[in-house]
Each structure stands twice: as structure tokens, then as C-alpha cells.
């Protein structure tokens, strides 16, 4: 608050004055958007490592549930000594694994790396600003996030372990301390960690929106903004409007957990075959509604999945056009489609709750709204395909990832149309089919988008190029292993395999699915191991990669008009002015095949513009 009162800090023309700052202020408690972006990115990488390892344990359990894992039992003593042998996974431990895998991946990795990481790195560069609007708030936002990460990671080691009520934290499981071991201290840490995360994300969102609205350079009208910048703007607006609902819900959950209220806890709760009674012999909790939590959670939850998705869609548009060396097909419809997806995301949360016994007419309204999202999504896909049509494509690493996003967006989106309708959804709810769907579209597309953006904008992070050969190898291993892991889940989901089940083979009808689960697990392990290629490439290239020039990819955007990495204040001289859109590839009137956004209009173009009237090219 006080920072806003003071206003943003000085930056312009002082690039050299800051050169001798102490290391701790320059790289640790930095206010520079690029450093903060990289800090977010690297922290998200660490969190991804943790959440990825949790996923591997989940997969081992699903393929070979009753196997005695002697080694794992030594590493995770709290998780592996139940059952017959001494190395079989405990059910509570399994619940904790999928809960924390989901929580960390959704919030601390896939919201953080693309939005907070690349948003901070790219927004001032693409908008032509010296820095974010509130640099101090920006640094504060990172360190708030960092505390959230520490709280979440600590929760594994407190009391009976981390939260185990699912990443959606549905009460009563998350509200009753005795419901699961993880619902004691672990769930409290979960809530506190989430509150820190949301506070950080809100500070970031304020910065994003204010910077994009107020600090764009001269000439950068909204319809000249790169798709990535549009995505960041929409994502920040979605975050600012949706996350407060979860904060409200989290505060009420804290009241239910610690002050004995009954916002979410209904009458008649029975725990371990004994009714949950107070001292007066009446039920301890009365009249609360677990569905209330679900409404508040999914009011956030659905926009949240687009917070993950939209940056990847933006990166993809920027990367596809560059490597196709063609203008983006249907730019305005792309912007409109993104806005439509963002807007619709606020009125469709009910499709997560079709089995909650809602009025079928209401379910139909939610279903229709959800299916409508297929329209702008299809607009995006067709525009990408039209951009690629007839192009002489350069198949570098970023392009492979971008095409991977398009592929995952289609294959994951098609199953979305199934799940959007209440009738099939009631059958498929909480099965592996849902897990397949959201891992392809939300997790997969976001992850591939991040990998693509990393290889594309790496020069602006570290001033060096990533290794292309290693990058391509990483892509192909990941791409094939990703589909092998998640595509078969559609099949076992339709066959009735439950989503969060500890031991599927306790049911006779799921026993034949074990070979498929083994195949999925082996693919998942390959997928996990392939990421070592990325880590090697990332850290090796950051320190020893080939030095990059200003504009290694022959791109048009403002971020490519300054050094790699950009200096403090982003441009040593005046901020460049923008004269055209960012997708001016293959314009036959120019000798080069790409025209920078800063290139003034030629005499012929000015004449044409005057003849057409001001509105055609301007807005």
C-alpha cells in the first residue's frame, strides 16, 4: 500500500548508475523485472521437480500396488510400512501424493512459470517499458511466493504429513482434522501456502494490468500488441477477479477448521463409525454446505485453468509465425477468441459439479456455456493451421514445442467437448478419462508452451542460446512419452478406472487394466527421465551456451530491439516507438523477410493508409 503511495521507482537512463549494486540487491532482493522473472522460473523448476517425483510414485503405485518397495521404504519411511510387507505404500501416503502433486503443479509450477516467470520477463520488453509499473511490489510478490513454496514444502514434514484431501480440498475431508492424517497440520499448511500464493499472484496481477494499460510505448495500440502480451493481460485480469473467491473460501475453511463454525460442514457427520458430537450431545457441526466450497473453489478453478492455458496459446502464436515466416492468420479473431475464452471461463464453473445433484436445467446451462468455448478454441486452431499452410517452416526447438501445443490443444480439447455435457460427464466423472483430458490440454499444453517459450526467449533471460540438438531430443522424448502416458488413460477411464484410487485391482473389473497401467507407468518414467535433458540444456546453456545477438530468431517484436540480455532499464537509449503490428513477416515490399515493429511506415504504406482512412490499420 505504501509503495503505491510513493509511486514507482526511478529507472530511466540510469542503467550504468546501478552497475555496482551489491549482489544481494541485484540478484536476490531485486526489483528488476528480468531478474524477478528468472527467480520465479527457477523456483517453479524446483517445485516441478518435487511434484514430478510425486507423480512417479503415484504411477509406481498404480502399476504395481501391492509390491514391496524396499528402497522407497527407506527413503520415505512415513509412506511405506503399512500392509502385509514392510515396503508397501500406505493409502494415506498415496492420497497425500496426488493431492500435493496437483496442488504444486497447478499453482506453484504451471501458474508460476508461464505467468509470473515469462510475464515478468516479457511484459516490459514487449510493451516498451523500462520496468513493471511497481517494481518494489514485484519483488515483494516474488518473496511472498517464495514463502508460500517454503510453507508447502515444509508441510511434508509436519505432523502426519502434507494435505491429503485432493488439490480441490473439498470439505468435509479438508475441514475435519480427524478425516485423514494429512488434514491435521498438513491441511493448515496447505491453506497458509495457498494464501501466500494468492497474495503474490494478486500483487503480480496488479502489476501486469497496470503496466500493460499504462506503460505501453508510443504507437503500441491494443491491436498491435503481440499475442503473448494479450495473453498476459487477460491472465492477470482473470487472476484478479477469480482468486479472491478462493481467498474468501480459504478464510471460511480456516474458521471451520479452527473456530468450530459450520460454513461447509453439514449436520450428521460420522467419523470412524462414531457420530461427531459436541459436549452437549448434539452434532458438533450443523447445517453447513460442502457444495458451497465447491462453488467458490470452481469459480476460481475454471478461470485458473485458463490462467495456465492462455500464456501457452500466446507463446504459440508468437513462435509459430516466426518459424513459419508468415503473418499470423486472423490476428483480430485470435485476440477476440482469447477474450471470449477468458470471458466464458467465468460462467462455466458448474461443469465440475455435474454429479453434485444440481438441477438438470442448470446443468444444461453450464454445459451449453462450456461447449461454447469450443468455438473460440477452434478459431485459434484453424488460424494456427492457416498460418502454417504453405509455409516454409524452420523446425527449430521452439517451433517443435509450439506445434506440440497445437497438437495437445486439439487432442485434449476434443475430450473436453465430451466432458462438457452433463450426460457423458456423469459417467466419466472422477475417472482416468478426466485425468487424461486435463493432463493433455491444461497441464500438457501449458508445459509445452513453457518449454517452447524457454527455448525461444532464452536469449532474453541469459543472453545465450539453448542447444538446439539437445532441445530437439528433449522434445521428441517428451512428446512421445507424454502421449504414451496420457492417451491410454482415456481408454481405462471409459472402462471405469477411478481417478484417485489407491489400489484399482481391489475391483475385479479393473484387474484386466493392469498391463495398460504398467505401460503408462513405464512411459511416465521415460517422460520423467527425459526431463534430465532439459535441466542439462538449461543450466549448461545459461552459463556456456552460444552467445545470442539482439535478434537471433529474426523476429519483429520490441523485445528483439535490445541487447540479450537487456540492460537495466531495457533500452540504453530512448524507448523505441512502434509503427506496425508484430507479425510483419514475408512482406514483399521489403528486402528482408521480416519487418520490425519499430520500422516506420514507408512512403507507399503511408499513402495507402491515408487512402484507406485512419481506422483500418490503426485499430
Amino acid at each position: 500500500m505504501t509503495e503505491m503511495a510513493h509511486g514507482p521507482e526511478a529507472h530511466a537512463g540510469q542503467a550504468h548508475a546501478h552497475a555496482k549494486e551489491a549482489f544481494i540487491w541485484k540478484y536476490v532482493f531485486s526489483k528488476n523485472h528480468r531478474i524477478i522473472g528468472v527467480q520465479y522460473y527457477v523456483t517453479a523448476m524446483v517445485m516441478a521437480l518435487v511434484a514430478g517425483l510425486l507423480a512417479m510414485l503415484i504411477r509406481l503405485q498404480l502399476a504395481w500396488p501391492q509390491k514391496d518397495w524396499g528402497v522407497l521404504a527407506k527413503i520415505f519411511p512415513m509412506g511405506y510400512d503399512a500392509g502385509g510387507g514392510f515396503g508397501v505404500m500406505r493409502p494415506e501416503f498415496y492420497a497425500m501424493l496426488f493431492t500435493m502433486h496437483g496442488t504444486i503443479m497447478v499453482f506453484f509450477v504451471l501458474s508460476t512459470a508461464p505467468v509470473s516467470g515469462f510475464g515478468n520477463l516479457l511484459i516490459p520488453l514487449q510493451a516498451g517499458a523500462r520496468d513493471m509499473a511497481f517494481p518494489f511490489l514485484n519483488g515483494l510478490s516474488f518473496w511472498t511466493f517464495f514463502v508460500g513454496c517454503v510453507v508447502i514444502l515444509t508441510s511434508f514434514f509436519v505432523g502426519a504429513g502434507a494435505a491429503a484431501g485432493g488439490w480441490t480440498a473439498y470439505p468435509p475431508l479438508s475441514a475435519l482434522k480427524a478425516a485423514v492424517p494429512g488434514s491435521e497440520t498438513g491441511q493448515t499448511f496447505w491453506i497458509v501456502g495457498m494464501v501466500f500464493f494468492i497474495a503474490s499472484f494478486t500483487m503480480g496481477g496488479l502489476n501486469f494490468v497496470t503496466t500493460i494499460i499504462n506503460l505501453r510505448t508510443k504507437g503500441l495500440s491494443p491491436l498491435r500488441m503481440p499475442m503473448t502480451l494479450w495473453a498476459m493481460f487477460l491472465v492477470a485480469v482473470l487472476g484478479l477477479l477469480a482468486f479472491p473467491a478462493l481467498i474468501a473460501a480459504c478464510i471460511m475453511l480456516i474458521f471451520d477448521r479452527h473456530f468450530g463454525t459450520s460454513f461447509f460442514l453439514p449436520t450428521g457427520l460420522v467419523l470412524n463409525n462414531a457420530p461427531l458430537l459436541g459436549a452437549d450431545g448434539k452434532f458438533l457441526h450443523q447445517g453447513g454446505s460442502p457444495l458451497l466450497w465447491q462453488h467458490l473453489f470452481w469459480f476460481l478453478g475454471h478461470p485458473e485453468v485458463y490462467i495456465l492455458m492462455l500464456p501457452a496459446l500466446g507463446f504459440t502464436s508468437d513462435i509459430l509465425t516466426n518459424f513459419a515466416r508468415k503473418p499470423l492468420f486472423g490476428y483480430k479473431s485470435m485476440v477476440g477468441a482469447m477474450c471470449a475464452i477468458g470471458g466464458l471461463s467465468f460462467i462455466v464453473w458448474g461443469h465440475h459439479m455435474f454429479v453434485s445433484g444440481m438441477n438438470p436445467y442448470l446443468a444444461m446451462a453450464f454445459a451449453v456455456g462450456t461447449i461454447l468455448i469450443a468455438v473460440p478454441s477452434a478459431v485459434k486452431v484453424f488460424n494456427w493451421l492457416a498460418t502454417l499452410r504453405g509455409a516454409r517452416i524452420r523446425f527449430n526447438t521452439p517451433m517443435l514445442w509450439a506445434m506440440g501445443v497445437v497438437s495437445l490443444f486439439i487432442s485434449g480439447g476434443l475430450s473436453g467437448v465430451w466432458l462438457a455435457q452433463s450426460a457423458p460427464d456423469i459417467q466419466l466423472h472422477d475417472t482416468m478419462f478426466v485425468a487424461a483430458h486435463f493432463h493433455l490440454i491444461m497441464a500438457g499444453a501449458a508445459l509445452f508452451g513453457v518449454f517452447g517459450a524457454t527455448s525461444y526467449w532464452f536469449p532474453k533471460m541469459f543472453g545465450r542460446m539453448m542447444n538446439d540438438t539437445l532441445g530437439k531430443a528433449h522434445f521428441w522424448f517428451t512428446f512421445i512419452a507424454y502421449y504414451c502416458t496420457f492417451f491410454p488413460m482415456h481408454y481405462i477411464g471409459i472402462a471405469g478406472h477411478l481417478r484417485r484410487i489407491y489400489d484399482p485391482y481391489q475391483y475385479e473389473f479393473l484387474k484386466p487394466l493392469q498391463p495398460i497401467n504398467e505401460f503408462i507407468t513405464i512411459s511416465a518414467l521415460v517422460l520423467g527421465v527425459s526431463q534430465i535433458l532439459f535441466f542439462i540444456n538449461f543450466f549448461w546453456s545459461a552459463f556456456a551456451g552460444r552467445k545470442a545477438g539482439e535478434n537471433p530468431w529474426d523476429a519483429n517484436g520490441l523485445e528483439w530491439t535490445t541487447a540479450s540480455p537487456p540492460p537495466h532499464g531495457n533500452w540504453p537509449g530512448a524507448i523505441p516507438e512502434v509503427h506496425r503490428w508484430p507479425y510483419e513477416y514475408a512482406n514483399p515490399d521489403f528486402p528482408k523477410d521480416h519487418v520490425m515493429q519499430t520500422e516506420p511506415l514507408t512512403a507507399a504504406e503511408q499513402k495507402l493508409k491515408a487512402a484507406e482512412g485512419p481506422s483500418r490499420h490503426e485499430h
Binding site: 503505491m4 529507472h11 517499458a129 474468501a248 458451497l292
Partner: protein, 213 residues
């Protein structure tokens, strides 16, 4: 959000001096470079923040409206003190406007008393709210006895936390005012006033929601 956001700032806002150092424009380039569209970013950011607060209370409101339909809802009779607290908060908004008007009208000597009155009334409000909680507890109306009680403690508590944040900001404003950091004739108190009035309006809304509607 109101038209306030869309109104161009009456002054080159980034050029504000003050103890925090110059704006990002820095070295006398008229306070800005580049942007054609231009609103005061700090003010804009504040309105965005108030937007997120509004969304949070919309979340609480929807929860309240759903929960009150349950059969175990017993209406809580508000302690009379609440009305006095409300009056104090409304008055504090009034005195803050008084201080703001005097600063804009070059009456520097007149700003101090009105600001102090604002702070005193704000502290009085928080103390009054805490007392109201105590009164309720002494009468046996605990947070978990009834959903209406729960909502009263919850909403007044969350509002109170934001008001305490406002009082911290008020402390900063007071220090700046004592150092004559505010230029007479300008609306230096505008941002703080926006936040403070928002909290006053929010409290009136919560009171209506809890006990009148």
C-alpha cells in the same frame, strides 16, 4: 470501477517528487516517455486492488446468501454499539474529506487537525468493533454458536483487518504530512482517501447485508 480510473491524471503523476525519489521518468523528461494513453499507474493499481477486494466480498456475500437459507439460522441481534461505530467511521470519512479539501485549497495549517480527527475516529472504530465482539461474547454469542454469528465475526473481522492496514497507511500519511511532503493545492491525500472511503462504504454495505436486508 468508476470513471475515476479513466480520468486522465490532472498532473504528470510520474513526476511526483517526494521522499521516495523521482518517478520512473527520472531526469526531467517531463515525467513520461512513450505511452500515448496515460493514467496515473499508482491510482489505477489501487482501483484494481479495490476491484479484487470487491470480488472477495462478493464471494462472502454469495456464501452468506446460500448459508442463510439453512434451517439452523437464528438471526443475531446487533449490539447497539455497532451503530455508534458506524457513525464514527462515517465521520472519519467526512473529516478526511475536510483535510483533503484544505490541502487542495492551500490551507496547509488546517490540514493537521482534520487528519488527526480522521485517525482518532478510525482508532475509535476499531476499538468499538473489538468491544462489540466482547459484548457479544459476554452474552454468550460465540463464533460457532450460530451461522449468523459466524458471518458477523468473519465479515467484521476481515473488514477490520483491512481497516488496520488502512491505519498503518494513515501513519505513513501522517509522517509525510508532518514533513510537509504534500504540495498545497494538489490532491496528495487522494489515494489514501480512496482506500479509506472504500472501507467506509464496505462497512455500511456489510452492516446492511448482515442486519437490515
Amino acid at each position: 470501477m468508476s470513471t475515476e480510473v479513466l480520468r486522465k491524471s490532472p498532473r504528470p503523476a510520474l513526476d511526483r517528487g517526494g521522499p521516495g525519489g523521482g518517478g520512473p521518468g527520472g531526469e526531467g523528461d517531463g515525467g513520461r516517455e512513450g505511452p500515448e494513453l496515460f493514467y496515473d499507474p499508482a491510482r489505477f493499481g489501487l482501483w484494481l486492488f479495490l476491484g479484487t477486494l470487491t470480488m472477495m466480498f462478493i464471494g462472502f456475500t454469495s456464501a452468506y446468501m446460500v448459508r442463510r437459507l439453512a434451517p439452523d439460522w437464528i438471526p443475531l441481534r446487533p449490539p447497539g454499539l455497532l451503530w455508534a461505530n458506524t457513525a464514527a467511521l462515517l465521520l472519519s470519512s467526512g473529516t478526511l474529506e475536510g483535510a483533503r479539501r484544505r490541502l487542495r485549497g492551500w490551507n496547509v495549517a488546517g490540514v493537521g487537525p482534520w487528519l488527526l480527527a480522521t485517525g482518532a475516529l478510525g482508532v475509535l472504530f476499531v476499538a468499538g468493533q473489538l468491544t462489540a465482539w466482547k459484548v457479544l461474547v459476554s452474552r454468550g454469542y460465540f463464533v460457532s454458536s450460530n451461522p449468523h454469528n459466524s458471518f458477523f465475526y468473519l465479515l467484521s473481522g476481515v473488514h477490520g483487518v483491512h481497516l488496520v492496514v488502512g491505519l498503518v497507511w494513515f501513519g505513513v500519511v501522517l509522517v509525510k504530512a508532518r514533513r510537509f511532503a504534500y504540495t498545497p493545492g494538489e490532491d496528495g491525500l487522494g489515494m489514501f482517501a480512496t482506500y479509506w472511503h472504500f472501507l467506509t462504504g464496505l462497512w455500511v454495505y456489510l452492516l446492511l447485508l448482515l442486519f437490515v436486508l
